[in-house]
Symmetry: C2
Subunit: 313 residues, 2 copies
Amino acid sequence: MSQHSIAIIGVGKIAVDQHLPVIAKNPAFRLAALVSQRGIEQAGVPTFRTPAELYAAMPDLDAVAICTPPSVRHQVALEALNAGMNVLLEKPPAPTVSELADLVRQAAARRCVLFATWHSQYNAGVEEAKKRLAGGKIASLAITWKEDVRRWHPGQEWIWQPGGFGVFDPGINALSILTEIAPEPFFVTAASLTYPANRDTPIAARLTFASDAGLPGAALTAEFDWRQTGDQTWTIEIALEDGTRLTLIDGGSKLAVNGDLTVAEPMAEYEGIYARFAGLLDRGESAVDAAPFHLVADAMVVGKRETTDAFEW
Amino acid sequence: MSQHSIAIIGVGKIAVDQHLPVIAKNPAFRLAALVSQRGIEQAGVPTFRTPAELYAAMPDLDAVAICTPPSVRHQVALEALNAGMNVLLEKPPAPTVSELADLVRQAAARRCVLFATWHSQYNAGVEEAKKRLAGGKIASLAITWKEDVRRWHPGQEWIWQPGGFGVFDPGINALSILTEIAPEPFFVTAASLTYPANRDTPIAARLTFASDAGLPGAALTAEFDWRQTGDQTWTIEIALEDGTRLTLIDGGSKLAVNGDLTVAEPMAEYEGIYARFAGLLDRGESAVDAAPFHLVADAMVVGKRETTDAFEW
């Protein structure tokens, strides 16, 4: 295992809260630089204003972690691949399905590692749930992902703008757990999408799925809602054919089996992400799970639109 | 080149109008059977009520052409792949992005040929336009796809139901030409989607693209409208950096270069489809261009929804 030099592009909240501290404590990585339009600095490493300046100054850099807003991620990632960099992408990996598919092709053509991260997949309960689902049949699935948009995205207008994903911004985390643990792929067969009268993205959504992992006639659903005040709910409940009940709680960090808490660990999502990225870099392998993003696009394609009260902060 | 036995699954209008006569005149194929729930028959070949009956009776069949409605295409295709069949899919190849991606994986795992057809790609002007675009830069692109839904889809309620695609049903034909001729991929950056007040799919759409094939700042747009009476318009106008103007007319069957009609041939879309399928079967190769479908999904993801007058037949 070699040590990999890495730069962070886009030094916003997620980079400061997660990427920088996790890189600092992982000996497989050495933080080499930051790229920040606003000139955010950290002692001991240079800050560049643009990726082009970074690549010109440090052509031997191993990798970049792209933490910019999603809208520019394809362009920034392509520039990185063209500079020969290995690339880690924050979620969602691109603004559109087409741009993600293009990045996969471009990375393969350049023999660069491309890693699309889905942070929720790294919670402790997820791996155990996957093990217990392997080979089993699902009698029912109920995803409930209800949170308060005012608490988690205060004043962030971009979430309501076309392409801003709306409630699918948190909902895709649940879908990324589903695609990770499911023994067979899931497909969206119907969806209702609830739009505030004055906004361009949904504030709530309800999805119905089909899957060969489910028993015939099984109810397979997801409910996303951004209007929940008080307690927040990020739960995936699965009943298996043999009667076993699996409940992923708190976004996957806890797993109850038949009501008994079996896994309960502190969230360590980004530790898991960087441990996996180190392995991918060592082996020269890419890992891009497009399935969560495809499910969101499919919900928008098949979804029936409904209108609800206007949303104001 | 060997002769391939083939069965048609779903004997509706497109099978009768196109697939059956084209198979009959292509010596690379031998029509072996029909599958028709309604029991539609053709002299000289057996009709089965279900695909399962077909595969039980004819396990050595080479291929099936799936001409059912799109909503069941994934399920019917998967059943065919599981029976070891090579598969031709009518457009659109599946109801969702996820189902198409799944079919690609499943066909590869079973070493079966999977061919997703986009009939508009086989018009005579398309290949010539592709040649003239190769290596060039696009100064402007204007797709205009305007037709009368009452003429082309009389009384077909499914086009207005969630997942029915609406005006993207014809629009995806234009996008399939774009993805075929473009020297670099196109991405949807913005879209407006116009829904009748009483319907669940758009009656009109306007898309804006970005592409490395375009000059910086180039206007790259598509306009789809189902409300055009009288003359129908299926045109793609492209201006190149060197001043050349390419105009694909009548869905791609004609090409004008700087106003002069350079290619004008009768439509022979399905002849082209089956000629290509024969080659794919001979070589054991799949051909699935998911890009047109991805662009539609992306337009739904980034699109701004607008409401217009209710639509009644």
